[in-house]
């Protein structure tokens, strides 16, 4: 782990001082690990937390699609589905029909 962080610091420079300090927790749930691993490749996970709970399955789907289509995120279709399910269940409308 130490080597991994060191490699990253060398590759990405000073901005990663912040990166290494990130301690953003997402809720436990099915799909959490996939969501954390893939989304955090480009941005911190607080982007997810602050956009809740008003996002719905429809808007989370649009958001994930935007990451793939507009921002070139390499997310396989099955992973994208897992992420949308996880986000809808954990960062979607409370007590919504989605659960």
């Amino acid at each position: 782990m130490r080597n991994l962080l060191l490699v990253t610091l060398l590759m990405f420079g000073a901005a990663e001082a912040t990166f290494a300090q990130e301690r953003i927790a997402l809720k436990d749930g099915t799909g959490r690990a996939v969501t954390e691993n893939i989304c955090s490749g480009c941005h911190s996970l607080d982007y997810i937390r602050i956009n809740a709970p008003f996002m719905t399955r429809q808007t989370w789907t649009a958001s994930v699609n935007k990451m793939v289509q507009m921002f070139g995120a390499p997310i396989a279709a099955n992973d994208a589905a897992t992420i949308v399910d996880y986000l809808t269940a954990n960062y979607g409308p409370p007590n919504g029909s989605e659960k």
Binding site: L4, M11, G13, I24, G41, D46, I50, M55, G72, A73
Partner: protein, 405 residues
């Protein structure tokens, strides 16, 4: 190990770190009406070279200025908000930094060192408000996706540097030039992510007030505000104020990158905008351009208590898209009656205009204090939100509730 593997591995590393359950340092001062998830996430945090600001996101960093700083018309450099789209932000070395000026519309391309930019061109000063297009997005009703800014994604500084038009003149622009395309040194972790590149219509680029700022409030720009050079486009939202500027290209066709065609757009005819960006306009929407008239109350604080008979000093700032503030009215009875506030010194039509209004805390109970600015072309703040999908141009009159007795 390729970059993607590293990134995915790091995602795992972050996950592990997060499970250790570090606490947030301090509660951020946030108004009501924001997404619930923001209250559970935003925190006061100090970036290198900054005072504690309200952290909304960590990577890329998005930090806003607490409202109390808007009691004064100049925002200190170390309290100025931070906003990035993409997570790779280099520490620019001033000695090796170069600004490349060219493009298909330039007959004489060249590059400049920082020293040349400072020594070979007239340096001009201008006070101007830098406001994120999405400032106050967090108050949109219904909420819309994005960085959930409250009112602090803005600041006003005294900027100094060469005029963009003087730099462009040296490049000998051809008559076919329609837009000037700007790029900064920051970039995305993934090579497939569109780099943050913006364009300006030629007329705005060669406006006397558009400068390449090398100094901010008398100091070099902070790293997090675009060191060593950023564009300053007075009157227009901060999306055009390219940080860590490295490239200025004269284009003979409208620039069609994602950050022009796919972002920072407002529906046509929705807002009272005078300066439009016609070469980028479509049948449905148009780039956001000038700021709408607005104001903010910096003091008193939400929920602040006053004794009966105590004097309450209302302080704040007003601004617009460069027409100048004509007046600010204050209500201390929830909008039933309005009185004119006293305006502070006029630092120019692009700057924050401070205002003050004092009254005696008389009747016990909750009191809603409001401010409403009007500019010199008669535009004023709205009472109800003009909803748009990106949450731009929110200049709804807001209330600060204090307690008397």
């Amino acid at each position: 190990m390729d970059r993607r593997t590293v990134l995915q591995g790091l995602g795992g590393a972050i996950g592990l770190a997060s499970m250790r359950g570090f606490a947030h340092a301090a509660e951020a001062p946030l108004s009501a009406g924001l997404p619930e998830g923001l209250y559970a996430t935003a925190t006061m945090e100090t970036l290198p070279g900054k005072r504690p600001l309200i952290r909304l996101t960590t990577r890329p960093p998005n930090y806003e200025t607490p409202l109390s700083y808007f009691a004064d018309s100049i925002t200190p450099n170390d309290a100025f908000f931070v906003r990035y789209h993409l997570a790779q932000i280099p520490q620019v070395n001033a000695a090796t930094w170069r600004l490349n000026v060219g493009g298909e519309g330039a007959a004489a391309p060249f590059s400049l060192t920082l020293n040349e930019l400072e020594m070979n061109f007239e340096q001009v000063d201008i006070a101007a408000v830098c406001q994120c297009s999405g400032n106050r997005r967090g108050f949109s009703n219904p909420h819309v996706p994005g960085v959930q800014w409250s009112s602090g994604a803005m600041g006003n500084a005294l900027w100094r540097g060469p005029r963009l038009k003087d730099v462009l003149a040296r490049a000998q622009l051809r008559s076919e030039v329609v837009e000037i395309v700007l790029d900064g040194a920051d970039s995305a972790p993934l090579s497939d992510t569109p780099d943050f590149v913006k364009s300006l219509p030629l007329a705005k680029a060669i406006d006397d007030n558009t400068i390449i700022a090398l100094r901010m409030n008398g100091q070099p720009l902070p790293h997090y505000n675009g060191f060593p050079a950023r564009l300053v486009v007075p009157g227009w939202t901060a999306t055009y104020w390219m940080k860590h500027l490295i490239s200025i290209q004269a284009a003979t066709r409208p620039y069609d990158g994602f950050w022009m065609r796919g972002a920072y757009r407002i529906p046509n005819n929705m807002f009272p905008v005078v300066q439009r960006f016609l070469s980028q306009e479509t049948a449905a929407n148009t780039p956001i351009t000038e700021m709408v008239v607005n104001s903010v109350i910096a003091s008193p604080n939400e929920g602040q208590r006053f004794r009966t008979g105590e004097r309450v000093d209302v302080r704040g700032v007003a601004w617009d898209g460069g027409y100048g503030i004509a007046r600010v009215e204050v209500s201390v009875d929830g909008g039933m009656s309005w009185r004119e506030a006293t305006l502070g010194p006029d630092a120019g039509r692009f700057a924050f205009r401070s205002f003050t209004y004092g009254f005696m805390a008389d009747v016990q109970g909750a009191r809603r204090i409001m401010a409403k600015a009007t500019n010199r072309i008669g535009q004023t703040q709205v009472d109800t939100l003009i909803f748009n999908p990106a949450g731009y141009h929110n200049n709804v009159v807001r209330a600060t509730t204090i307690m008397i007795g």
